[in-house]
């Protein structure tokens, strides 16, 4: 009958399927063996010489990044280990980055670790499949590498600002924003991202205003008082710049409310008013001394 299949015919197609299946297995596995990375251990030069031929853009991206330019250099082996065994999945995990970036308590790590991203990663990371590429929201929340090495991009500096946050380069900021936007959009709505960026920019500028206010105060004060007299105020100014301003930046970049606020803005307020207090106190002492001298002279 048309459309019906006899038992013999069914057996025939099954045999055919088995043969075809085995054939497919041999073909794919031999291709896989040919394309497999070589076993054994390698030094950095060996990694570069081979990978330059395979993906020169990747090597170049690393070469222009802070990982290659700054000392100590973070080379292939620093993150991937010296063999091809789990080389990629190992490097994708936060632990790889944190060891060099100051440990869990350093502001750069802590600000991320306490964001919603960081805390969700902390409780879910062992259930995730780290062999997946760092793109297309393959991970529920981003770890360090998901953003800073998105889609395997090896220029970690692409999203990092100039360390001197008081000097800003408009062109650099635009390229940073464009790169970051691409990553955030894997999960977040474009309007949300834009507003977050704009707001962050304003928040950072407010922190800068506080630092600049302190700087101008000190510049004025230097005309009247010695460096030694101004030492405590100067120390506070340095703290504003190197700790709290940076904290605000990290809080915005890593979405940590603690760093935006508690370790940032009110801390800047505190230093600013103490600098004012210290300078004004010098003025009061000076005035008292002057009047005393005047009275004595009389």
């Amino acid at each position: 009958m048309l459309g019906s299949v006899t038992k013999g015919e069914r057996r025939g197609t099954r045999n055919l399927r088995i043969v075809f299946g085995w054939l497919l297995f041999f073909v794919t596995s031999s291709v896989a063996v040919a394309g497999m990375p070589p076993a054994g251990s390698f030094d950095n030069a060996a990694c570069i010489s081979c990978h330059e031929q395979q993906d020169s853009a990747l090597v170049k991206a690393w070469q222009i990044s802070a990982h290659a330019k700054d000392k100590p250099v973070a080379n292939c082996i620093s993150c991937h280990g010296n063999s091809h065994n789990r080389a990629a999945s190992k490097a994708r995990r936060d632990k790889t980055c944190i060891n060099c970036h100051g440990g869990y308590k350093s502001p750069v790590v802590h600000s991320y670790a306490y964001s919603k991203h960081g805390l969700i990663l902390r409780i879910e990371k062992n259930k995730w499949d780290w062999t997946q590429p760092l793109a297309h929201a393959n991970y529920r929340t981003p770890g360090c590498a998901y953003c800073h090495m998105h889609a395997g991009g090896h220029n970690v500096s692409a999203m990092i600002r100039d360390p001197d946050l008081l000097k800003e380069n408009g062109k650099q900021i635009k390229s940073i924003k464009d790169a970051t936007r691409q990553v955030c959009q894997d999960c977040h709505a474009p309007r949300y991202i834009s507003r977050l960026f704009d707001n962050g920019e304003k928040m950072l500028e407010i922190a800068r205003m506080k630092v600049r206010e302190a700087r101008d105060l000190l510049l004025q004060a230097k005309k009247q008082y010695t460096a030694k007299e101004l030492e405590p105020a100067e120390k506070r100014y340095q703290e504003m710049q190197s700790v709290y301003l940076k904290n605000v930046y990290l809080g915005i970049a890593h979405q940590s409310p603690d760093y935006q606020w508690w370790y940032g803005q009110p801390a800047l307020d505190g230093d600013l008013l103490r600098i004012k207090g210290a300078i004004n106190e010098l003025g009061r002492i000076k005035n008292v001394n002057l009047s005393q001298q005047a009275q004595c002279a009389r």
Binding site: D198, K202, P257, G270, L273, N287
Partner: protein, 451 residues
């Protein structure tokens, strides 16, 4: 005589008849500004606030038109925002018998989308929402009233809005459920773990993270927590040690303020009022899931003792400050610096604010250094010691009290300087001169012009 009395009764009646509607009218009027809350007429929101307090500030995006069904949302957004769809696919919403689609919470009409508020979630999760709303009866601080607390804080009203965005990010726990059950997985298990709480419950005024992780409970959690089954409800026998939620949201009751006695720790309370005794018995009952009731009672008493010591130190510092104020030795004085948040500069009566009841919680900038010293002692070191005592971290208690001791010493030393200086000035017959920079400077000016 009798008729006179009857006539007089009309005076209070008329006053009440005028005052009550006038009061209502005034509150309505003050809440009708560009911002929100009691001071809404004094400030305008930043665009990002829409995402932290959707009810007050969110307006739908108008770039897309059309009315869509749930499946259509998914198929489009799978390409636009894959992370959202992936999360949703893993969630119970996507696996329910009657699937909960995007449109069920966000609306169908792309010209009129909304962000889900507790009310929308409460449409299905009725018990949780009713509990959550019910928390309001405990007053501040609580999750349910957190947004009101932020919007009505004077420093929030006064500061440029971009600066205080982080406030709303945490205080949005009142206005959206994904603070704890993060979108779009909305996991119950996630919220049961301390990691669900500590993005906000951390930092100097509430080191709930450090003090819990420093306690025996927390140490055991850190060592073993990853291997526990977090799908189990928060009740006796299910967890080896308690987590934040086990104690503060026991049996999943969405009322963290239910048992709080010392609350935020910003003011001294009498822990032995009848109301607080009832709360204490609730704690004892909870601790008895694992411990002997007497032992639990002892621990709670220990905490009261710690608080008593802390307040002795705080009052000592306050009295130093108040003594300076009485003698006019606080410098710069209230008149020599920018006005307090929401105050006007030419206000008739200006006085330095010291302690909780005078509103010092909003005054941590534009004040004199010694007042800020006290703020740090009170708001950071004191609260750290409190959380150490509450969560069972003895090291944190010790550190907090050591810090308070040195704060107090520091305040006394600085008070001496102020006293000596002002006495010396008096002797030579000059007045303390406040420099112009107290009232003017790049940020100081910007702050006053931008609410």
């Amino acid at each position: 005589m009798k008729t006179k009395k009857v006539r007089y009764i009309w005076i209070p009646i008329i006053v009440i008849l005028i005052a009550v509607p006038a009061g209502f009218y005034y509150v309505n009027w003050s809440e009708s500004g560009a911002g929100a809350g009691l001071y809404s007429r004094d400030w305008s929101p930043a665009a990002i606030f829409a995402y932290w307090d959707p009810d007050d500030f969110y307006k739908s995006v108008k770039t897309m038109t059309g009315v869509y069904k749930g499946k259509q949302c998914v198929s489009c957004h799978e390409a636009i925002t894959p992370g959202i769809v992936k999360d949703w696919r893993k969630s119970r919403h996507s696996k329910a018998k009657k699937v909960v689609y995007c449109s069920d919470c966000h609306g169908h009409d792309h010209q009129n989308l909304h962000l889900p508020t507790p009310k929308i979630c409460g449409g299905c999760h009725t018990t949780e929402h009713a509990d959550f709303e019910g928390e309001k009866r405990f007053g501040f601080p609580s999750h349910a009233l957190a947004m009101d607390r932020a919007l009505d804080a004077k420093h929030f009203v006064d500061k440029p809005k971009a600066e205080v965005t982080a406030c709303l990010q945490c205080h949005s726990v009142a206005t959206k459920c994904d603070s704890c059950h993060t979108r779009h997985l909305f996991s119950v298990a996630e919220a049961r773990r301390p990691e669900g709480c500590i993005t906000c419950h951390s930092g100097p005024p509430h080191p709930d993270d450090e003090t819990y992780f420093g306690s025996k409970h927390g140490q055991i959690y850190l060592a073993e927590g990853d291997s526990w089954d977090w799908s189990k409800p928060l009740r006796k026998g299910n967890y080896k040690v308690p987590t934040c939620a086990y104690c503060h949201m026991n049996r999943s009751k969405h009322q963290v303020a239910e048992k709080s006695i010392w609350k935020f720790g910003l003011k001294q309370v009498n822990p032995l009022t009848s109301g607080n005794e009832v709360k204490r018995e609730k704690w004892v009952k909870l601790c008895s899931d694992c411990h002997k009731p007497d032992w639990a009672r002892q621990q709670l008493t220990k905490m009261d003792t710690e608080r008593k010591h802390a307040w002795k130190k705080l009052y000592a510092a306050e009295s130093v400050l108040k003594d300076l104020r009485r003698k006019g030795q606080l410098f710069p004085s209230a008149k020599q610096r920018p006005p307090y948040p929401t105050d006007s500069e030419d206000a008739f009566f200006q006085i330095e604010r010291i302690g909780f009841f005078e509103g010092q919680a909003s005054a941590f900038y534009n004040i004199s250094p010694i007042e800020r010293d006290y703020f740090n002692m009170w708001y950071f070191d004191n609260l750290g010691a409190y959380k150490g005592a509450a969560h069972g971290d003895a090291v944190f208690v010790r550190k907090g009290h050591a810090a308070m001791d040195s704060d107090l010493e520091n305040i006394r030393r600085n008070a001496n300087v102020l006293r000596t200086l002002s006495e010396a000035e008096k002797k030579v017959g000059i007045k303390p001169k406040a420099d112009a920079f107290w009232k003017h400077g790049e940020y100081t000016d910007y702050n006053r012009e931008h609410n």
